[in-house]
């Protein structure tokens, strides 16, 4: 009671602003000054509390006006502003000791609205009054209900937990039992669960039948000690406990609204369910099962262990990384970023295996052994499942082996349609493997799917593009990630095989689909990665696109494809030049074959000839066509049909340029663009349309620099 005067000052604060924490020191000086100022002024609240704290046992209650008056003062303050924590201690003691009579006991409990926090010592003292056993039953119930209501406001709960046994003893009181069970539910830790307590609760269960509060508490006990008690919750069980806060709810929320910002209390205290019972009807639903292993926990029950599921933040994980307990079902961790972090760190072989077994089994049972019946519900669940796997794999930046081997099996039965986005994504996570396996497990089934499917699926070759970029991503760090059983040359072989395979698919696909624009663009996007393998990924590999891809792109009717091809050729040139230079400088271990250079030069020649030199079908090139045959087509000036002016992709630009230059001319004569300065203007006009790829290509290969400055005329590369 030493600080009651201090309290009084606090309570009389005219602004009504109760300090957010009674013990806060930052406002102390301010308060002292204020107290100085108001010295001598009567403080009714402080005086009332002082009076109430001195009420002794045996005080006459009936007709005691002074008691009544003081009670009223405190009550008014309590309901409007809430009570500071010290006052709560005082009043709770007064009420439960029954010094002011049983009637006032209930009255005090009802207006015991904390402004900020409730000191746990007050509750401990309250429980000791409960043990004295003088209180009438309704007062006991009211007290426990009050504790439940303010539970989240109790400053600290360790002492409360240490008198767990005392609290537990009240479960035998029939009227108190529901509330005590709830309180125990909130307090229980693993060390509190003992065989004799379990037996007691089971006795009560036998007496009272299956009551939700008992079931909930027992379910929690089971979570902590599955070796002592077992229980299965029906699928539609009334979860949680009833609300007991009705008496205080309105006043409490009013006070809290007034003291907003102090402490936020969850109004739905009653549903503070720690463990979510899972439906576990299906394999995939047990993702959140928290049952602990039967065998081990008894050994380390003394050690403080953390369940992976209980961890909320990365910091918590770091702090407790040395005593983490894995769940009984590893499958429950799939999709939890923290758990995956942990698994990746500790590299517990068994844990990963368990996860892999579960995953492999689920995939196998769901997709291979039980045919999906196509109902939308089923598919959406499967879709969610695969998405979870994808999330985990992307998080780990590698695939699970069980998904991988599942995919190999699944590809042979897949219709190319079911869950396509997910399956394609999963495929892109497959790591690179020796070319023999790649052919057998991947290319064969994919080829079949590819050639028998719609153009859209073919466009989904994106997959292979992604796939490759992942491989290249790995390749970026290949000196350290290179698998032990895979030599560098084996690895290169695999990449080469992969690129060739995509080239084959693409050229056949383009032929089948009549050079579909989307497919062509996707293919070119793929080659945009391939052409830069040496420079960007330092992979000593340069693979040219096959003719089936090159020529459709060169003679494409859309300008985007042509521009992309220009860019690709430009990058190839850069890569080859650098490779050549390195090879000459020092004895390089790798050697780019003559054929690659030849191929490149042939393509380059074809491109430069058709676009720049207006002579697309030079005798001796890939696309030599008999002159008589061409003349049959009756196309005038057939050799310049694919130059920068007449190329079907650029034709419209030439027309537009012509119109701008000679707006008055009725007869379009595109040939006049080629004369004098108009040619340079046309180049500038063309490159201003955003054809950077073509621009680069023309600049590096012909030396033409759109009229800026004359560069030395470089010949197309013709080495070696």
């Amino acid at each position: 009671m030493a600080d009651l005067s201090n309290l009084a000052g606090l309570g009389s604060d005219p602004s009504g602003e109760i300090d957010s924490s009674a013990s806060s020191a930052n406002n102390r000086s301010l308060r002292l000054a204020e107290k100085e100022k108001r010295k001598g002024e009567a403080d009714p609240f402080g005086l009332a509390v002082k009076y109430l704290s001195q009420v002794e046992a045996g005080t006459v209650v009936r007709g005691n006006d002074e008691l009544e008056r003081n009670m009223l003062v405190v009550e008014t303050v309590a309901l409007s502003k809430g009570l500071p924590s010290e006052v709560i201690t005082v009043l709770l003691d007064l009420a439960l000791s029954l010094n002011a009579g049983t009637g006032n006991c209930a009255r005090v409990l009802k207006f015991l609205i904390p402004a900020t926090v409730v000191p746990q010592e007050a509750i401990v003292k309250g429980v000791s009054w409960l043990c004295v056993g003088k209180m009438p039953m309704n007062a006991q119930v009211l007290f426990v209900r009050w504790v439940l209501t303010v539970f989240d406001l109790i400053d600290c709960k360790d002492n409360l937990r240490s008198i767990y046994g005392f609290i537990f003893s009240f479960v035998t009181e029939e009227n108190l039992c529901p509330f005590i069970c709830h309180l125990l539910y909130l307090l229980t830790m693993r060390e509190h669960v003992h065989p004799y307590r379990v037996r007691k609760l089971l006795d009560i269960q036998a007496k009272m039948g299956r009551q939700p509060f008992l079931t909930q508490l027992l379910a929690l006990y089971k979570v902590f000690r599955p070796d002592l008690v077992t229980l299965s919750l029906p699928s539609r069980v009334r979860t949680g406990f009833k609300n007991h806060n009705s008496t205080w709810k309105v006043a409490l929320s009013a006070v809290q609204r007034k003291n907003k910002g102090a402490v936020l209390v969850d109004q739905s205290l009653s549903l503070d369910v720690k463990e979510k019972p899972s439906t576990r009807k299906r394999v995939r639903c047990h993702l959140c099962n928290t049952v602990k292993s039967l065998t081990e926990h008894t050994l380390n029950s003394n050690k403080k262990v953390f369940c992976l599921q209980e961890l909320r933040s990365f910091r918590e994980l770091l702090e407790n990384i040395h005593n983490i307990e894995l769940p009984a079902q590893m499958g429950s961790l799939l999709g939890s970023a923290l758990a995956l972090h942990y698994l990746d760190c500790v590299q517990d072989e068994s844990a990963s295996l368990r996860l892999n077994f579960w995953l492999g089994h689920s995939l196998q049972e769901e997709f291979l052994l039980c045919p999906v019946d196509g109902s939308s519900d089923n598919t959406s669940e499967a879709c969610r499942f695969l998405s979870t796997i994808l999330f985990s794999q992307q998080f780990l930046q590698e695939g699970f082996s069980s998904t991988e081997s599942f995919l190999y099996k699944f590809l042979s039965v897949w219709d190319g349609c079911l869950l396509r986005p997910q399956i394609l994504d999963l495929l892109s996570d497959i790591p690179l493997m020796p070319s023999f396996y790649m052919h057998k497990l991947l290319f064969e089934p994919l080829k079949q799917l590819y050639f028998t499917s719609t153009v859209f699926f073919k466009v989904c070759m994106v997959l292979l593009f992604f796939f490759l970029s992942v491989c290249l991503y790995q390749a970026r760090a290949w000196p350290c990630v290179l698998p032990r059983t895979m030599t560098l040359s084996g690895f290169m072989d695999s990449v080469m095989e992969l690129v060739r395979f995509v080239g084959l698919l693409a050229s056949e696909g383009l032929r089948l689909e009549n050079c579909h624009v989307l497919l062509l663009n996707q293919t070119l996007a793929f080659y945009e990665t391939v052409c830069d393998m040496f420079l960007k990924y330092s992979l000593p590999l340069i693979i040219m696109p096959p003719a089936g891809v090159f020529y459709p792109a060169l003679f494409a009717t859309d300008s985007v494809s042509v521009d992309r091809l220009g860019y690709i050729m430009y990058r190839y040139r850069k890569n080859l030049t650098l490779a050549k230079k390195q090879e000459q400088q020092r004895e390089q271990t790798f050697h780019i074959s003559r054929n690659t250079y030849k191929e490149f030069n042939r393509n380059l020649q074809a491109m430069v000839n058709s676009m720049w030199n207006s002579w697309w079908c030079i005798p001796g090139s890939d696309i030599e066509i008999d002159k008589d045959l061409i003349s049959l087509s009756k196309v005038p000036e057939p050799w310049c049909r694919f130059d920068l002016i007449h190329h079907p992709a650029l034709f419209s630009y030439a027309i537009e340029f012509h119109q701008r230059c000679w707006p008055e001319r009725k007869n379009v004569d595109l040939g006049s663009i080629k004369t004098g300065k108009y040619w340079n203007w046309y180049m500038e006009f063309l490159f201003n349309q955003g054809f950077d790829g073509l621009n680069n290509f023309i600049q590096t290969n012909t030396g033409h620099s759109s009229g800026l400055s004359s560069q030395d005329d470089r010949q197309p590369t013709s080495q070696p």
Partner: protein, 356 residues
Amino acid sequence: RYICCWYYPCSAVNTPASRPLTRRSKSYGRSCVEAPSYFWQTPGHLTVLKVPTSRGAAKSQLITNKVDPEHIALLVKNEWKLSYVTPLHHFRHTQLKSYSRHLAAFIAAENQQGVAVEVGLEAGFKVTFTAVLGLAETDEDAETVFIQIQSKPAFAAAADAPKVVWRGWLTCVNGDPEYLRSLPSDFVSLPLFCTSGSESLTTLVKTWFERAFDCNFGSLALNSTTLNWLAALWTGCHPTCNIRHLKLAWSLPTQPPLDVSYTVNPQDAWELWNSIHPEESTDDKIDIKEVQSFINGLETHFFRHFKIYLSAGTLVKVSTALGSAHLDGKIKIGNSDYITTLLTLLTESALLKMPT
């Protein structure tokens, strides 16, 4: 690729150096000691488990010399429904007593939803786990575990013996040694699970196992090749042990479906088999081709009489006095002396179902 490698495990957990390196070389293409990553590592990855194309002839052995005859008697009389199980994590043969208590409590709790049951208190069900020692053939095989559930009705007279309502066993006989060796030591692989009893109890037992040992069950259907093997192997035993008959059942995909039951005189069957695989042949191994031609021989004979190509249908069931096996994964063991051959075949089928 390995973004998470910034943190290295502290001393409390395994360090990479302490792990056996042997198993890594098996998974092709993806092993790396410096940046080990275990997510991809599943034993028996793709290349390890192969369907054998030849195997030894069935040999009679007096199993009762190795195994308690009482235990053998339990295995012989019932029809068993087969399942496969992924390796059991932290299963210990020394803990069977406590497993009995837990499973009993679990069944009781499941049967009265929402009522908690104390573990160890006998409530309606009595569960017994028994280790059937001696059935294992190699050092890698884990010992077979037999589970029996007895029900004790609440109002039964004291004299009434508890009734056995469910039986099941987990076994591994001649499991692929390379696969078994590749598992870490805290796993026990008992891939074959045989059950007999109500489906609901089977589900409960499976659920309990799945929760306790983080394993998964799937139903094990046999394939025609396995049935062909059994037909040949059992027929080969005729000289030493009368097989009484060779009964085969086919299902033909006609409209309406046609079921063919084909019973062969044991002596005739044996003579056919002997003409394909002479008894006195020096090589003890039987090749899958021999098995195939044996079945072809039987089919040809049938065609000669009934003008029906049995090869157009599927072999559904094989049965002799030594035992029977059905395509949908139901078996019966007729003679305990040849139990090893049967269980070897079934263990192999179960291991092939393992998710890799």
